[in-house]
């Protein structure tokens, strides 16, 4: 088993963990963490598979893509959390499953 396989398969696992959290967790902050994990998993797949270049030096293109991706992901995270905070201020809710109109939330 070669190095690139270990990390890129690990990336796939982390992507799947993040996907589950994004879909299944109720708390908005957990969803944001899930999305971040999906990103990290994707980045691992990208750079892991970029390590297959002959000669041992990793492909620079995936690295550049991941650097861009990391910055974009933090932007998405900031927006997601800003909405979460504002929604909480307006309704007292930290998930989307409860309808704010129905009131009587914990």
């Amino acid at each position: 088993m070669s190095t690139y396989l270990i990390y890129s398969l690990g990336g796939a696992v982390i992507f799947a963990i993040g996907l589950y959290a994004l879909l299944a967790r109720r708390h908005l902050v957990h969803k944001v963490i899930g999305a971040n994990l999906m990103g990290s998993g994707t980045f691992l797949v990208l750079i892991g598979l970029g390590n297959r270049a002959p000669g041992g030096t990793p492909d620079p293109v995936p690295q550049a893509m991941v650097l861009t991706g990391i910055v974009v992901t933090v932007a998405l995270t900031a927006l997601g959390l800003a909405i979460t905070k504002r929604y909480f201020s307006a309704t007292g809710l930290d998930d989307l499953d409860t309808d704010p109109r129905e009131g009587d939330h914990p």
Binding site: F15, G18, L19, L22, L23, L28, K31, A35, M38, G39, G41, T42, V45, L46, L49, G50, R52, V61, P62, M65, T68, G69, V72, A75, L76, L79, G80, I83, T84, R86, Y87, A90, T91, L96, P100
Partner: protein
């Protein structure tokens, strides 16, 4: 190189610079900057369309490297058409917004940051229509997603925030999935440029899985049934000009990327059954969206579900794409005509519905009786835009359905023609349900308004443009042919 050769770059830089400037200028200056920007973009888009129509498609090598080292912009017929649609709808939205957003809105409406967000969105739309690089598409999608979500939450009430959060999580899911697709695609082909991909693509599972993930992500962003769950609340709870831009332009941007991937990049049958699957989902969207539109009691939700339905038509091109050059040309011209005329009519419908809402002071369709007498211009707008939604002659909707029907028959796949016909009937049903209320004899009270007349006449002008859009069909057809998409059927553009 002359100015005209730089148009692809300038169409992205102009709104971007506008966005940056409006971030620091006074609110009263913001709107002037925005209007000036929209005039410049419209001028540039018109020039680009003329350049492509007369001189053919061309590529713009950013940084002078050229693919695969650098990123290339692609100015071809479909891109030029979408850019001009964006310019026209964008200008209308800008003008409407100058009247819709009060000059001094304090902390309501996102602290007056509408103009900056809107120009960022315009930048990202233009960038997505022009890009020829699959990773660059990812960055454009993120720009679109963030600006769209921020515009949806602009009102800051609980509904808007909830819709925005839902929209954002859908966007995140789509973005990460798309990027994973790019990772697999690059890992198996070593290319990011669409043209290069087309040339190097060999049937192997890595590239196929990558492209499938990318298309699936874009389907989520386009809100094709069953991935439409986020659209109705987002489009309905946004401020009216934003709703119009979202329904008319934003869903079409991700659709355009699907068009590129499915037809420009992939050869026929590269992912077996993908075209048919998209066609089936499109048909489901037409039927499900129309049925839901019939059930809506609030006017903006009604328009939003009509968007869910109308998106479906755009996907009928995919099952027809592998049946020869003539069929593809007819179907491609058909969906482009549909995208354009729906863009115009949906902008009219959303702006008109928004104005109705403001004048009645509520959003319940049932309590909008007698609008034909009290608000004749707005009622006419809804009725005329409805003609395009139903696909009656001489609207653009009619032209596009006609072309899609003949393409279906030509491909020997008549069942799509049945769906198209059924879609028209269902559209008539949901349109007449609302028109019956507006045209009824019992007038209800409307609020007096100091709003400028452009809030009424602008939507009407767009509805009229869509109404006669079938006459643009030959021109749209000829531009549809100026594209690498035709290579899919073996025709060199």
């Amino acid at each position: 190189m002359t100015l005209v050769d730089h148009l692809p770059a300038l169409l992205i830089i102009a709104p971007l610079a506008g966005a940056a400037i409006t971030f620091v200028t006074e609110r009263s200056v913001d709107r002037i900057v925005a209007v000036l920007t929209s005039i410049i973009i419209t001028l540039f888009s018109g020039m680009l369309l003329y350049r492509v129509a007369s001189g053919g498609a061309f590529r713009y090598e950013i940084g002078g490297w050229g693919a695969p080292i650098g990123i290339d912009l692609v100015a071809d017929g479909p891109a030029a058409l979408f850019l001009l649609l964006t310019a026209v709808v964008g200008t209308a939205v800008t003008i409407y917004a100058t009247a819709y957003f009060p000059k001094d809105c304090g902390t309501s409406y996102g602290h007056g940051l509408f103009w900056t967000l809107w120009l960022f969105m315009w930048t990202s739309l233009n960038a997505l229509f022009l890009t020829g690089d699959v990773f660059n598409v990812y960055v454009c999608l993120e720009l679109i997603g963030i600006s769209a979500v921020a515009l949806v939450t602009l009102k800051g009430d609980a509904d808007a925030l909830r819709a925005g959060a839902r929209y954002l999580f859908a966007s995140m899911l789509a973005a990460m999935t798309y990027l994973l697709g790019v990772a697999l695609l690059y890992s198996s082909t070593g290319q990011l440029d669409m043209e290069m991909l087309r040339a190097t693509l060999t049937p192997d599972s890595g590239a196929a899985t990558g492209l499938a993930l990318m298309v699936a992500a874009l389907v989520l962003k386009t809100a094709l049934v069953p991935a439409h769950f986020w659209l109705p609340t987002a489009h309905a709870s946004a401020p009216t000009p934003v709703s119009a831009a979202l329904s008319a332009l934003v869903v079409k941007a991700s659709y355009f990327a699907i068009l590129r991937l499915m037809l420009s990049v992939m050869p026929p049958g590269f992912i077996p059954g993908a075209g048919t699957l998209l066609g089936i989902l499109g048909s489901m969207a037409i039927i499900w969206g129309s049925l839901q539109a019939m059930r809506q009691t609030r006017i903006k939700q009604w328009v939003a579900y009509s968007t869910v339905a109308q998106i479906g038509y755009l996907f009928i091109v995919f099952p027809l794409a592998d049946s020869g050059a003539d069929v593809l040309a007819a179907a491609l011209g058909g969906v482009l005509l549909h995208a354009l005329s729906h863009g115009l009519a949906k902008t009219a419908l959303f702006l008109g519905a928004g104005s109705l809402m403001d004048r009645f002071g509520h959003n319940e369709i049932a309590r909008m009786t007698g609008a034909a007498r009290t608000l004749p211009v707005l009622t006419a707008t809804v009725a005329l835009a409805g003609v395009t939604m139903m696909g009656l002659p001489p609207s653009g909707g009619f032209g596009s359905k006609w072309q899609l029907v003949s393409a279906s028959i030509g491909a020997g796949q008549w069942w799509w023609a049945l769906v198209l016909g059924l879609g028209g009937l269902l559209a008539a049903a949901y349109m007449f349900r609302v028109l019956a209320v507006l045209l009824s004899d019992t007038p209800t009270e409307v609020r007096p308004t100091h709003a400028p007349v452009r809030l009424e006449w602008l939507p009407l002008a767009l509805a009229v443009a869509a109404l006669f859009f079938v006459f643009a069909a030959p021109f749209v057809d000829s531009l549809a042919g100026i594209s690498t998409i035709m290579l899919h059927a073996g025709v060199t553009p």
